[in-house]
Amino acid sequence: MTYLHNIGAYFLMIAEMFRKPTKWSVMKNLILKDVDDLIIGSLGIIAFISFFVGGVITIQTALNIDNPLIPKYLVGFATRQSVILEFAPTFTSIIMAGKVGSFITSSIGTMRVTEQIDALEVMGINSLNYLVFPKTVALMLYPFAISIGMFLGILGGMAACVYGGFSSLEDYIYGIQTDFIPFHITYAFIKTFVFAFVLATIPAFHGYYMKGGALEVGKASTTSFVWTSVVIILLNYFLTQMLLS
């Protein structure tokens, strides 16, 4: 029953988020601040992880191809497919559920504990619109961060491939161009948009409706990470089934 109640409360929160909008002059600044906190502030970790995981994918693929009949360019091909289809959109989003998600839950949860949300409500401000809407809009730029992740993942793979001596640069470049299906990029970005919405709203839900003190803020952050990850994995499955099969 609690799960059903929470699911209902989550959708009511989303509906409430769009009501009684905050003044645009104020909202504009909130969105820009959240773009800085959530997107720009995450670029470093996305770049770092993407580059090295791209390299690891390449090494693992190359080490597992021991049949001389399999062409070397398949290393580049496999890296491109892994990075574009799964690593960049899905696994980066799970990492972001930890970074961005816990930031959102703890910042909103702390505002709840210290009565800052009550202060907004007393002033007649729709606190959900004021707090959650700008984060949701800011995270709509998340595909931009993911596209950087895709590029750096493939670049990392290339560096590992060439400097590790697994295949030549020409083979790798040929591999990443082979059988390229543009819809895979569309598929990856559709997933990313959906995950961005989940990344903004589920942690916000756990922060906004938390009860208790500082200890509960920590617990809410952990719970929000778990649920955001679970929802991302489930949606990944359903979206893949719908869009690719």
């Binding site: 003044k23 104020v26 210290t114 009565e115 800052q116 202060a119 007393v122 002033m123």
Partner: protein, 255 residues
């Protein structure tokens, strides 16, 4: 003026407010006092519209809140200033930005007009040099004064304070009490303070509502509270050793 009639509020079937009726007068500091768990905070949150209630009415200058449209409710909320127990200042903003916040949200003033108003109210609460500080860099007393400045910046008709002296030393408490009283008289606003601080009761309790177990047990002022025979009130007022001694001295003096 705020009129409350027969207010009932329950949580999970447990009645917390059991039919409170009272009036909070304009231009006066009205205190709600009582022991912890007596229903003070719930009562205050009902007055603020943060809690819905099952029965009764709350009227702000004759306007019954529950019968107002959403826009009218928003207008009434725009006339309310609130000082929270923990000040509830926005961590991400400076003190000046905190005070300016209601003006940015609800007025069409230019930046210089807003800045002038912020300067004025910060001067009013004796915080001339704190504009650029973050709330975390301010002391408890300063945070309370910033909260008062934010509450009055938009010229409210009603000022609510939830335990404004909690966590403050006695001297700073007196400063805060005096400030609230001065502001109430200066701007002729209806001030409602939730407190269990006996210094505040003595100093600024022009009207006092005493709650016990969700009921109004007594009503009076700081002039009458020490003369009442109501056992519930005397039990609360003279619970500390200091107050017992004060009472003893008073009785001995009279004899």
């Amino acid at each position: 003026m705020i009129e409350v009639k027969d207010l009932h509020k329950s949580f999970n079937g447990v009645e917390v407010l059991k039919g409170i009726s009272t009036t909070f007068e304009k231009g006066k500091t009205n205190l709600i006092i009582g022991q912890s768990g007596s229903g003070k905070t719930v009562f205050l949150k009902c007055l603020l519209g943060l809690f819905d209630y099952e029965e009764g009415t709350i009227a702000y200058d004759g306007k019954i809140f529950s019968k107002l449209t959403e826009d009218e409710k928003r207008n009434v909320r725009g006339e309310i200033g609130m000082v929270f127990q923990g000040s509830a200042l926005f961590d991400s903003m400076t003190i000046a930005e905190n005070v300016m916040f209601p003006l940015r949200m609800f007025t069409k003033q230019s930046k210089s007009e807003m800045q002038d108003r912020v300067d004025f109210v910060l001067n009013r609460v004796n915080l001339q040099d704190a504009h650029k500080k973050k709330p975390s860099e301010a002391s408890g007393g300063m945070q309370k004064r910033v909260a008062i400045a934010r509450a009055i910046v938009n010229n409210p008709k009603y000022l609510f304070c939830d335990e404004p002296n909690s966590g403050l030393d006695p001297k700073t408490s007196i400063v805060i009490d005096d400030l609230i009283k001065e502001i109430t008289e200066e701007y002729n606003i209806t001030t409602v303070i939730n407190s269990h601080d006996m210094n505040s009761v003595m100093q600024i309790g022009e009207k006092i509502v005493f709650l016990k177990n969700g009921l109004k047990a007594w009503e009076g002022s700081n002039k009458t509270i020490f003369k009442t025979d109501n056992d519930v009130v005397t039990d609360f007022v003279y619970s500390s050793e200091l107050m017992k001694k004060v009472r003893q001295m008073y009785i001995e003096e009279r004899q």
